[in-house]
Structures are given as C-alpha cells and as structure tokens.
C-alpha cells in the first residue's frame, strides 16, 4: 500500500522496440531482453518499475482498469474504445501510419448503401457519419484488402503504412481519416495518486520525443 510502484503496459514487437529508447531516456531498462524473454512481467533496473507485455489492443484495457498505471497504445486503438479512465498525455511519434478509406481504383458507388469492411468500426462509423453518410459496416479482424476484391464490401477502412499491401492487391488509398501514432496513456486515478513519479517519467519521455 505504498503508492510507489509504476506499471507500464506495452505490446511486444514494433511498439516495444520503438518505446525502449524513450524509456531509456527516463533511465528505465528491462533486465531481460524483451524479445527473447517469455516473461509477461518484465522487471527493470528500477525495482519499483515493471513492464507488462500485453497485446497492443489490450494496453488501454489494463490502463483503464488501473492494473497498469501507464501504457503505450496506438491512436487507432484509442479511437475505438470508450475508455473514460485514461489520459493521452504524449504523442510518442512512433508506429506512425494513416487510417484511410481504400478501394479499387475507379470505384463508383452502385447506389446501395456503401458497404465498408474494417477492424475499426467506431472510427469508420464516426468518419462517415460526419460526412453525413450512413454506411453498412462489416467487422473483420484481418486481411481487409480481400473484402472489395471478392465483393464482400465496396471499400475498406484500414491502416496504411507504405501502401504496398494495398498496391499488391490492386487497391488504392482514397480518403484520409486520421494520422495515427502511438500515445503514452495514463490511468486518471494513478495520475493523481502517483503524480510526481508519472510527471517525471512523462517529462523525460516528452524530451526524448522532442529530441528524437
């Protein structure tokens, strides 16, 4: 009951790799190599700071419940959740990409309600609603590019990085919805209870982001 530990939820892979230099700027170094370790709770050189290895889409859940005080989550994931218990303090500027509408070049609407296949249901719905357009959403978990090719949907809403996957499947980006990058998120209650520790960490990370 000491209010002196900090737990940070992040996903292994690209986000962890790009976050480690930022954590290093705050003098936080995992004791085990995160890539080879099978541990899900990673100790760091600072005994009171732990890292939790979670799935990228789960990071906001851990932070929302307060199980992790901080976390790293993509803006794409944050736009999909209703999490009211978290703050989005820093744009880490990592894992950058764009959320876009994509489809077959030369696509013309057939007249029926536009069918949109996506993993990002809320973002897609909000985007088309703001344009005043009601669409039919088809929730998919992956391989979105397939949907327009086989007639499951007219267009897709998906993350676009280089655009190579779209191109390889004969699709082209059509409309830009949002720029995506990873954010440092903080549990609202932890922000109050562990304020000094969190602010110090945020400051170091913000500086590292500004200098990087």
């Amino acid at each position: 009951m000491a209010q002196n530990t900090l737990t940070i939820a992040l996903s292994k892979g690209r986000i962890l790799k790009e976050t480690l230099p930022l954590l290093a700027a705050a003098d936080i170094h995992p004791l085990d190599d995160p890539d080879s370790s099978r541990k899900l709770i990673l100790d760091t050189n600072q005994p009171h700071i732990k890292l939790l290895a979670v799935r990228a889409t789960d990071a906001p859940t851990y932070v929302n419940y307060g199980t992790a005080d901080l976390g790293v989550a993509g803006k794409d994931v944050l736009m999909e959740i209703e999490g009211e218990n978290l703050y989005e303090l820093v744009d880490l500027g990592i894992a950058r990409c764009r959320l876009m509408v994509a489809g077959q070049p030369g696509f013309t609407p057939a007249g029926h309600r536009l069918r949109v296949a996506t993993k990002y249901v809320r973002s897609a719905q909000r985007y088309f609603a703001e344009k005043g357009e009601q669409v039919e959403l088809i929730k998919l978990y992956g391989s979105m590019e397939l949907a327009p090719l086989v007639g499951l949907s007219d267009v897709i809403v998906d993350l676009v990085d280089t655009g190579n996957t779209l191109k390889a499947n004969g699709l082209a980006p059509m409309e830009h919805i949002a720029d995506i990058s990873s954010r440092l998120i903080v549990n609202q209650h932890a922000y109050k209870l562990k304020h000094d520790m969190i602010r110090e960490l945020v400051q170091h990370i913000q500086e590292a982001v500004n200098n990087g």
Partner: protein, 396 residues
C-alpha cells in the same frame, strides 16, 4: 437444454452473500451514524419515479444511464434512479425547508441502477451512500462537506487517502472571458477531459486569437496545473493575476487547505485545475478521494462537489454541495467484519423460563438459535441444570 441460466443475474448485477452483505451493512451503519452525528438527517427517496423528475438539474449523461419503463398507472415514462443526488435536490427544493433558504443537511443510502455497465468504472448497481448540504454557500459549505468526507474515509478505515481538488466554477469563468465559438469550446472540453496534450497544443495554436492576452499564459500552462495542491493554486494565482475575482476564489481554496491540514494532517491533498469531470453539472469546487489497493492500483472512493446550478433547475434560490460513494464498489478495500456474538443452541421446549433466558441472552449479544436436537459440533447449548437454564460449554 439446462435450466442453469434462469438464476444467472444480468451483466454487472451481483448478489451479495453473507460475509459481503454483512460487511456492506456494517459500513453503511458506520457512515449513517457519522452523518447523523454531524447533523445530517436521513431521507429515503423512492427507487423509481417519473423520468423527467429524475433528470431535473442533472447533466445530460444521466438520461442515457437511466433504465426506463412505462408507468401502467399514468402512461408516463418512469425511471429507476441512476443517481440519488437529483432526487435529494428535488426533495430539498420542493418538500423541505430549503425553500425558505435555511441550511438543510440530508443523507441517504440505497441502491441505484445504471442502464449501461461500464466495467472499468465500477458496479452497475451502485449502493450509493452520501450527503447533500443545501444553503450553506461558498467556502463554509465546501469546508463542512470536505471535513465530513475525510471523516467518512476514517469511518471506512481507509488510509492513506489522497484528496483531489478541482474547480468547475473557475474553468467556467475562464471560458466566459474567452470569445470561443461553442463548437471550439466543446472541442476544448473533450481535449481536457482526456488530457490529449498533443491535440491540445494544435488546438491552442489555432484558437489563440479567441483568448484574451491576460489568459494566454494560463492556456499555455494549463496541463501543468496539477500536483501538490498549494503549489498548484499558487501557480494558478500568478497566471490569473489580471482577474482579482478568480484570485480571491483561489485564496479561498488556500484557506480551505489550511483548515483541512489542521483537521487531517495525514491526508495528501492534490489539485488538478484542468480537471473537468462533472463540468456540466458542477459550478464550484469539486473533489474526490483515492486509495491504492493491495496491488498498488489507484482507485477512486468518493466524489462530490458544488452544484449551485440546481437553483435554476428548481426555480428556487438555493445552493448545494455534497458527496457520495458506492459502497458496493469499495467493499473489497474495507476490512472484514467479524461476527462477534457467541452461537448458543437452544432446545425448543414449552418452558416460559427458557424463553425468558433466550430473550436475555440475545439482548446480551449472544446469537441464540433454536434446535430440536443439538447439532453435531455444537460448542454451546442451553441446558436446564438444577432448575435453571444455563449455557453448557463443551470446550470448557
């Protein structure tokens, strides 16, 4: 098909079984005793009433949180309360002497129901326990409620406590000094709500021309205005020095801090003057208390604040502040409650002396249970020895 599902309860709705239910009841009494000892009178608003009255003077959020149904008697829409505060305000404004402008102290404890289940935010069926103080405006009322809030944390055995202060009135006044279009003010509140600092910086650059020169420094540093309360308030005072009325309000907060520190020196007091939780409902000082659990996880316990806006809603010149907490949500944080009464088994016989003895034992604090035959493993039982009903203790 099995029939197991018929005794499943809806999502987020849970039975409380013996040790837990007794615990809730124990702490409910502790709180209500404390409220009574502090001059607060108990009221019991109904579990359901007309939807319109349930929402009077509350934020818009409450309408989505309220379960509704059609009243078979009147054909009007009824709702199950999702929050007790508007009910207490309605009663204070319409039925009690708050009409005459005299101070009124009310407390309550009871079930509420949320239409939607926000798992990370707590239970769907909060057991809301709280107090409301009417017609003690400004600092005096804020201080009384905060002192009672901290005493309530003691009554629950919760420590160490962090008290967090915010001020919706101050933010409302800052915004009223700006010429922000309504849509931009809405965007600003969304950004503050999630502390979206990156988007906030972009927003500020685009909207700086709406903000008076004397307030621009505050807007630039707004996200920095959280931390140890005194430091934050001093910092904010210097940023608002062109606005004596707001500086006076902040001085009032400093006086309050001095009082709280004298009354509860161990409580850590935090302030976040960019906090806008409950912004639409609250009009002045807002506060909440926090603790950590055994996993060092930060949790909110109680919330409250000033909501003088109800005066308008009820067309009645009154001021109001108060706080409440969900006993069900904090139950796991509270120390277990032991049953203290020694169990005694009593044979069910037609002997007036026996029945008198049972009544006496119960009033002395024993837990006396009737039996036809003393069950196996019973430690204490009543036996008639030399013509007198006596407790026989097998352990002795």
């Amino acid at each position: 098909m099995t029939t197991t599902h018929i005794w499943f309860t809806p999502e987020g709705i849970e039975d409380l079984l013996p040790p837990q239910a007794e615990k809730l009841e124990f702490y409910r009494r502790e709180l209500l005793d404390l409220f009574a000892a502090s001059g607060y009178e108990l009221i019991k608003p109904p579990i359901a009433e007309f939807f319109d009255s349930l929402l009077t003077g509350s934020g818009q959020d409450l309408s989505r949180e309220t379960c509704t149904f059609v009243d078979q008697e009147s054909g009007r829409t009824m709702g199950v309360r999702a929050d007790t505060t508007p009910q207490v305000a309605r009663i204070a404004a319409s039925r009690l002497r708050a009409r005459e402008g005299a101070p009124l102290r009310l407390c309550y404890a009871g079930d509420t129901l949320k239409a939607r289940y926000n798992r990370a935010r707590g239970t769907r069926n909060p057991y809301q326990t709280g107090v409301e103080l009417f017609n003690v405006p400004g600092k005096a009322g804020d201080a009384e409620i905060l002192l009672l809030l901290l005493e309530s944390m003691d009554a629950l055995g919760l420590a160490p406590i962090t008290l967090s202060l915010g001020h919706a009135g101050l933010i409302k006044r800052v915004l009223s000094e700006c010429s922000l279009p309504e849509s931009e003010a809405g965007v600003l509140l969304t950004l503050l709500n999630r502390k979206r600092y990156p988007e906030y910086q972009a927003w500020l650059n685009a909207n700086l021309h709406y903000i008076p020169y004397d307030l621009q420094a505050l807007f630039t540093d707004w996200f920095e205005l959280s931390g140890e309360a005194e430091t934050v308030i001093d910092q904010t005072k210097s940023l608002l020095s062109a606005y004596p009325e707001m500086v006076a309000e902040l001085d009032g907060m400093l006086d309050l801090l001095a009082l709280l520190k004298a009354a509860a020196p161990h409580v850590r007091i935090f302030a976040d003057l960019a906090e806008i939780r409950g912004y639409y409902y609250h009009t002045g000082l807002m506060f909440s208390t926090y603790v950590v659990d055994e996993h060092d996880r930060a949790l909110v316990v109680a919330r409250g604040g000033r909501y003088d806006g109800i005066a308008e809603a009820f067309d009645n010149p009154m001021s109001a502040t108060g706080f409440s907490l969900d006993l069900r949500a904090v139950l796991d944080l509270l120390a277990p409650v032991e049953r203290t009464g020694q169990r005694v088994w009593a044979p069910m016989e037609a002997d007036p002396q026996l029945h008198e003895k049972v009544r006496d034992l119960r009033s002395e604090g024993y837990e006396v249970v009737w039996c036809e035959a003393t069950p196996d493993g019973a430690v204490c039982k009543l036996s008639k020895i030399n013509g007198l009903w006596t407790i026989e203790n097998d352990e002795a």
